[in-house]
Symmetry: C2
Subunit: 180 residues, 2 copies
């Protein structure tokens, strides 16, 4: 099991970034995303629409007590990776991550409280330059899964893309194609 913990989501300001975080989590093989804060129905609807069309399983949960989650995660034997531009290279950390462990990937926004640095098992930098939690999450999942996302098949997809040189080829699981 791989899950993501998204810190610091502010519905008005971060809606699109957090939506990207959730879709990247799904596309690159995470099982779900915990978002800290009150339920954001718009975000939830956007992700549900994607799961309905393109398949799952995938979940988004809103939680109020992130440190409670960290505690539970660790006491169940899971590992916690906090992505931060200040952290160690993932390549140094990967050998300490047995595949059997559940992994929680913590991603923040600009100001992450120091407690996350101390309570995580690993503080990992996807490079040490300022960029994007969306990109950092994608590269982290790519490396942890050893590219497994490239062949991932989603369950109960209503729509599937047939990769194409030009244009758009969408196959409805009934078999019908939509034109460009």
């Amino acid at each position: 099991m791989i899950a993501v913990l998204r810190l610091g989501h502010r519905p008005e300001r971060d809606k699109r970034i957090t939506t990207h975080v959730c879709l990247v989590a799904r596309a690159f093989g995470a099982d779900g995303v915990y978002v800290v804060g009150k339920i954001d129905r718009q975000l939830l609807a956007a992700v549900e629409r994607v799961v309905e069309n393109w398949g799952g399983p995938f979940w988004v949960k809103f939680i109020e007590n992130p440190f409670g989650l960290l505690r539970e995660w660790k006491s169940a034997g899971g590992k916690i990776i906090h992505l931060t531009m200040y952290g160690l290279p993932l390549s140094k950390v990967l050998p300490s991550l047995p595949k059997s462990n559940s992994i929680l990937i913590v991603i923040g926004g600009e100001k992450v409280p120091p407690r996350y640095y101390s309570e995580s098992d690993f503080n990992v930098g996807i490079g040490n330059q300022p960029h994007s939690e969306v990109a950092a999450l994608a590269i982290c999942l790519d490396r942890i899964s050893e590219r497994a996302w490239e062949n991932k098949v989603f369950e109960n997809a209503r729509l599937v893309i047939r990769p194409s040189e030009r244009g758009k080829e969408i196959v409805e699981t009934g078999g019908k194609k939509k034109p460009f």
Copy 2:
């Protein structure tokens, strides 16, 4: 030379996503980003601040005629990769990309005009699931550069991070450290 062409930037709605696109372009080794549309001074200031602190070279240019750019790019011998969830896997396309070619990576938002599909040399899907142009760009640059970004050194950086297991270690190029 690797550059990015960002389509469909709407200053009010896309400011943060396009900022992420620019910072990812810089961090993962592109030379600069063309943004289609009128100059967005807020976006420009955000990127300039990063380059001032963390080094360059890196540029952002606003252009009004993207198809003119595509034409010039191709007539100078460069190749154009359009990232789209409908495209072919990058692994199929990479062997056709000699390292000597300049590469322009085109990324859109939701509705990319069909003309980009026909005028690009390659339509590439970073997976065929809906996710994020920010993540797609990061993975694309990671694969094209064969992870060269992991060791990239930026010129004239005022600040450099010393990767750390816990906390934040920023070295000012004068040598002073900022505390956590």
